[in-house]
């Protein structure tokens, strides 16, 4: 049964961060929750908590790095992808190798 839309918009998005990313930011955690309506807003929120994290995830203001994958409920996302409290977001390092 799906949750009411109004409820999901007020709840925080569950976010899982790649271990290699957590290693770069002392105090960050593998799992966190943020309030955001898009992936871009989610990255902004992460950057405000751990300054510099946006630069590690995006190579332009509107583009996720080539070897970083962000999934929203299992589907690859862009910074424009909408999110709400019903979603689970994974920020992962791509395999980038043979």
């Amino acid at each position: 049964m799906s949750r009411p839309v109004a409820e999901s918009k007020t709840r925080e998005v569950k976010v899982f961060l790649a271990p290699a990313l957590v290693n770069l930011f002392p105090g960050s955690e593998l799992q966190t929750e943020v309030k955001a309506s898009t992936v871009g807003g989610l990255i902004d929120e992460l950057d405000s908590r751990w300054p510099g994290m946006r630069d590690r995830l995006c190579d332009k203001s509107t583009r996720i790095r080539r070897h970083i994958n962000i999934f929203v409920d299992g589907k690859r996302a862009t910074v424009e992808t909408p999110v709400d409290g019903s979603n689970t977001v994974y920020i992962l390092t791509a395999i980038s190798g043979g």
Binding site: A20, L24, G52, R56, L57, D59, K60, S61
Partner: protein
């Protein structure tokens, strides 16, 4: 008691080596910087702060910093970016420090400056906006700004080198730039176009001590000296086994002495000539050269030495160090006459720098 530190940038992180002034026993630590590829590591001797420039395929470019000789590290790339309409910065290739500024050269070629100890960076747009920019072409290592030479007394004067755009000079603190490549060859251009105004494949650029007008340049196509701050270059490759190589290192006190490691050729394998390792030294501004081989392997040697992987220290007698692209590190504590292997099985070594603490 002086401690000598060797700072290595490698394909898999920064490594730090420390020794007493005798330079016989070395303690090695690393890899630091999360084993990112690190192209250049330098130290601000005044603050004993180490800066590492590099870039990671996943997380992009950054300058890493340690204020406690490697115990703890931070990283930043705040401002280390081009506009959204340009190719993103991929990696930091070179770092230079003076009394209140840190410069970072990056790939694709550009220059950034920090005035807050590497916490944030400002793009020096005048270089990227240079009218020749659209004609810069990448060398084998990419379109990289790999050499930054600062005037020791006059902060308005800066030389940079880009592979393959050549040497550029600013006399107004980076507000404007002019190519300084007259006399250097571009053998890869058609006949009649071998001495262009810019576009040469400079491999490294160094300044002699106590004479800011005296510059040396190892180029893809020859070895050169300038006696006038790069306005004119003269070939000094006669007597060398090859006109091709990457690094050059100046003596800390004698402007006539320079060290090189020529390689066998650009499309011949890029290893030491005849499979025999040698550092080549001039003591007369490049008029003559001698091979320094004692202690270096002389059979079946196929390593190369990259553009920032040869360095001198400031002690007496001078220590000379080089790291290979096969992860070996050699040193001489008598100005290059005798050599010893001090580390091996490291990752490919991209850069070697030194600093002496407590001297």
């Amino acid at each position: 008691m002086a401690k000598v530190n060797l700072l290595l940038g490698t394909k898999k992180g920064t490594f730090l080596l420390e020794s007493s002034a005798e330079r016989r026993e070395w303690q090695i630590r690393g890899p630091f910087c999360e084993a990112w590829p690190i192209n250049h590591v330098v130290a601000d001797e005044t603050t004993q702060t180490i800066y590492c420039g590099g870039g990671n395929e996943w997380f992009g470019p950054a300058v890493w910093k340690s204020r406690d000789l490697g115990e703890t590290w931070t990283h930043s790339s705040e401002g280390l970016k081009y506009g959204d309409d340009q190719e993103p910065v991929k990696s930091v290739w070179s770092i230079a420090i003076d009394s209140n500024r840190i410069f970072a050269g990056v790939e694709p070629a550009g220059l950034f400056q920090s005035t807050d100890q590497g916490q944030s960076w400002q793009h020096i747009e005048s270089l990227t906006n240079h009218p020749t920019r659209s004609q810069w072409r990448p060398g084998g290592g990419g379109l990289i700004l790999h050499s930054i030479v600062l005037h020791p007394e006059d902060q308005s004067q800066i030389w940079i080198a880009i592979s393959a755009a050549g040497v550029f000079y600013s006399g107004d603190n980076g507000r404007s730039w002019e190519p300084r490549n007259i006399g250097t060859r571009a053998d890869f251009m058609p006949d009649g176009q071998n001495y262009p105004e810019f576009g040469q494949c400079v491999h490294s650029l160094v300044m002699a001590p106590d004479n800011p007008d005296l510059l040396y340049q190892q180029n893809h196509c020859g070895m050169y000296r300038s006696d006038d701050g790069g306005k004119q270059w003269k070939s000094i490759e006669e007597g060398l086994p090859s006109s091709f190589g990457f690094p050059a290192a100046a003596h800390p006190r004698d402007p006539a002495t320079l060290y090189l490691i020529p390689l066998n050729g650009d499309i011949a394998g890029r290893y030491v000539p005849d499979g025999k390792a040698a550092v080549w030294r001039t003591k007369d501004h490049g008029q003559s050269w001698e091979a320094l081989r004692e202690g270096l392997p002389q059979r079946n040697v196929f390593f190369g030495v990259l553009r920032q992987a040869l360095a001198t220290d400031t002690l007496e007698p001078v220590g000379v160090y080089f790291g290979t692209n096969t992860g070996a590190l050699y040193s001489s504590v008598d100005e290059g006459t005798h050599w010893s292997l001090i580390a091996e099985h490291l990752p490919p070594i991209y850069s070697v720098e030194t600093f002496v603490a407590g001297s």
